[in-house]
């Protein structure tokens, strides 16, 4: 994801649920598979769930996503909204959505409890490369 990605439909308003940067998405046909890089757990979504996810990933706030789904499926708007709210609650609970701002800092896993076995290197780095043309 590049900052200012033109495919984005606009960032959700502050505080609105969004897909965090460490949750990555793949399409598999009509379905969607996502992985939480922090836990390395994989999740599958299909049907309306997959459509909702694609809308969220492309930057749609949840109300806009519900509108889109309402146009796509012949379903009562209130029922759809309740279903979406339930799914969003589940996704928030599992950390696949977050209310936090994604930020523009480097790193997808800075908060991951990765083993701290990577000690500071003792070997000196090699001399700087010679400057010149490539």
């Amino acid at each position: 994801v590049t900052e200012g990605d033109p495919s984005s439909a606009g960032a959700p308003p502050p505080g609105a649920p969004r897909v965090p940067r460490h949750v990555r998405t793949r399409r598999t046909g009509d379905d969607v598979v996502v992985v939480d890089l922090h836990t390395e757990r994989y999740y599958g979504l299909d049907g309306v769930g997959a459509d909702l996810w694609r809308l969220l990933v492309s930057g749609h706030p949840i109300p806009a996503a519900v509108d889109q789904l309402g146009r796509r499926y012949d379903v009562d708007t209130e029922v759809l909204r309740e279903d979406v709210d339930g799914l969003v609650a589940t996704l928030l609970d599992r950390g696949l959505l977050t209310d936090d701002d994604p930020g523009t800092g480097v790193g997808l896993c800075p908060a991951v409890p990765i083993a701290t076995h990577l000690e500071v290197a003792t070997a000196a780095a090699p001399e700087p490369a010679q400057e010149g043309s490539r």
């Binding site: 793949r26 598979v33 992985v35 599958g44 979504l45 523009t104 990765i114 070997a123 001399e127 010679q130």
Partner: protein, 383 residues
């Protein structure tokens, strides 16, 4: 055995730096009469160096079919009383007595890519005596900002809409793959920075970070991972361009940017690379800040680049659910078997018993995929 494979192995024999450093390290480490495990022995080079160094016995384990030719070489050189060649994965090997030394060269470009850490970790747990020695014992990991035209072409080509066709999905995959590249000193836009040391037998997930400034104007195509391996207390081996112990035939791992960014000396480059040496899931994030304050940030992962079978992810389609439990069960049940001749139906039944909610057909497809992968190697997949 393919022509390319033979050429690769010939390059190992012709790499004077590699042969010299391994020879010196084994002389330093091997004591007369030691038993040495040559892990992923290929054509037997390191095992022969171990015999030269005084090893009493060498067990050369190689999964590839090339091992049958290596056995002929051992016999022709009258080493068959000292070197035993076995075809198979070291992870399926059982020894009556643990060995004194494990030697290997599956270091790849950034240590993890050829799987050395998980095979070494297994050897450490099961095959090496507690006070035994690994060659190499540890690796310093380094990252550097680089320019690499061939990689840029290989990514941008998918975005060029040849004949008017939008190949965007391939463009997305292409920029999420780790690329094996051969870099020279002129490829470096900044000094390689040491970002940590990992023990050879430690297969836990690791994170390497870079925070540096560009020293040479150019186009940033990504961040390259490289290593300095500690073969023995006084011998090192490296693939860092310009390093005095640089291997003559060894690539680096490039973690690419989706689009090249023009940079000038003084621009800041930050990167994070997280690697799971067991699952191979790798993610990287690169942030470029120009001296004028403009920020370019990209996040990538091999999850978004790899081609995989959707069946793996349809075990419990329809609701968000972790599937790693089923996949992990399947791996374990298969691993509990004897390796060859896996009874797929029995594995399916055992996995279904643990996961009654998963459908038989989907579990069956998953197990068959895993069995096929296990048969092909190089190692056990883990989900």
């Amino acid at each position: 055995v393919s022509a390319g494979e033979l050429t690769e192995h010939l390059q190992y024999w012709q790499d004077d730096v590699k042969v010299d450093r391994y020879r010196r390290a084994l002389v330093e480490v091997v004591r007369p009469g030691d038993t040495v495990l040559d892990l992923g022995s290929g054509t037997g080079l390191l095992g022969m160096l171990a015999v030269e160094a005084g090893a009493g016995r060498v067990l050369a384990v190689e999964n590839g079919a090339i091992s049958t030719v290596t056995a002929e070489v051992v016999e022709r050189n009258h080493l068959d009383e000292r070197i035993e060649v076995r075809q198979g994965l070291s992870t399926t090997l059982d020894l009556d007595e643990p060995v004194d030394v494990v030697v290997g060269d599956q270091i790849g470009g950034f240590v993890f890519s050829a799987g050395v850490l998980r095979f070494y970790a297994d050897a450490s747990r099961r095959l090496l005596r507690p006070e035994g020695t690994f060659v190499p014992g540890s690796f310093d990991l380094l990252l550097a900002p680089v320019q690499h035209q061939a990689s840029r072409d290989a990514i941008d080509g998918w975005a060029s809409a040849p004949f008017g066709y939008d190949l965007g999905p391939f463009h997305e995959r292409a920029q999420n793959l780790v690329r094996y590249v051969v870099l020279d000193e002129d490829s470096l836009l900044g000094t390689p920075q040491a970002c940590g040391t990992v023990a050879a037998h430690d297969d836990r997930r690791f994170r390497a970070t870079l925070d540096t400034h560009v020293t040479t104007d150019g186009r940033l195509d990504g961040v390259a991972g490289m290593f300095v391996g500690h073969l023995s207390p006084s011998v090192t081996l490296s693939n860092v361009p310009g390093h005095p112990d640089r291997l003559q035939h060894r690539w680096q791992d490039l973690f690419p940017l989706g689009r090249g960014i023009d940079v000038v000396a003084g621009d800041r480059v930050e990167a994070e690379v997280v690697v799971n040496p067991v699952s191979y899931l790798t993610s990287w994030s690169i942030r470029v800040t120009s001296r004028a304050g403009h920020v370019h940030l990209e996040d990538h992962s091999t999850f978004e680049g790899a081609l995989f079978d959707p069946a793996w992810f349809r075990i419990a389609a329809g609701r968000p659910v972790a599937i790693d439990g089923v996949a992990r069960s399947a791996c374990r049940v298969i691993a509990d078997g004897e390796g060859a001749g896996v009874d797929t139906a029995a594995v399916v039944a055992a996995v279904r018993a643990e996961h009654p909610g998963a459908s038989a057909g989907q579990v069956d497809r998953l197990v068959r995929s895993l069995v096929t992968l296990l048969a092909d190697g190089p190692g056990e997949p883990q989900a």
